[in-house]
Amino acid sequence: MTIEQLAAAVLDACEKESVDHMLTGAFAHGLYGIPRSTKDVDVVLSLASGDPIDRVVRRLAGVVQFEEQVQFDTLTWGKRLVGESTAQPPFKVELFELFDDPFVQSQFNRRRRIFSTQIQRETWLPAPEDVVVQKLRWGRSKDLDDARDVLAVQGPETLDMTYIEHWCAIHGTLPRLRDALAGIPPLD
């Protein structure tokens, strides 16, 4: 199985269960930043349709084996369920439940529909500003590099920096934003 076949299966499951969703993680970063490899397919699921994780998990039976125990992100306490593809390679699938964190809601509401040739369908992905805010909020070394990449490739002049600064101020991550911008080398 390829990563695009797995992504397609996960997105199909969401569509068939009428669960509003958004592809995130390395796919969102790669769309706007410097492409890198990933180990998983990360998808945010809307709660509007009721028990979205259970339904998507059932739909993926045979393709992805999910853990029994959900986990909670200690930053926002959002819920995550991790699974692994039953076919090789052992790619992971992470399902995140959309919850009532104001930024997470804003990010989901601003998502964009983009066509991918590799998975032969349109899919929902976050806006670049939201990838930057999210990565700065999570703040691991890799996340900070990802945020800087998106700022560098898109160019701050093309991004809604007021929106980014607004959320960074709320999250207390303005120093990280300043560091990320300072880390972009001169491009001329």
Binding site: T2, F27, S37, F72, E84, F115, P186, L187
Partner: protein, 95 residues
């Protein structure tokens, strides 16, 4: 012979890092969003193939299933490191 100037060496290293990073940025800027997304898929599939080949070579085995099991274990260890402290099995009582 004088010992190398550490400040000069650091400045040269930083200039080289910036140059490499600048090339990556400019290459990504020349791509369309769809092309960048396609690269994520291609890089991922290639990296997993290389990890598998490397694990089999290192272990001196020819059984592909066994090779994937080594890759799985290595990725599980990496995941423990990357996720350390970031996830809990229960939310706090107040949430």
């Amino acid at each position: 012979m004088n010992p190398p100037d550490p400040d000069l060496a650091a400045a040269e290293l930083k200039a080289m890092q910036d140059s490499i990073y600048r090339e990556k940025i400019l290459r990504a800027r020349r791509q369309t969003p769809e092309e960048r997304l396609a690269d994520v898929f291609e890089l991922t599939n290639t990296v997993f193939t290389r990890m598998h080949e490397g694990a089999m070579w290192q272990a001196g085995i020819t059984d592909e299933t066994e090779g994937w099991e080594i890759v799985r274990k290595r990725l599980a260890r990496l995941r423990l490191v990357h996720d350390a402290g970031r996830f809990a099995s229960h939310p706090p009582a107040a949430v």
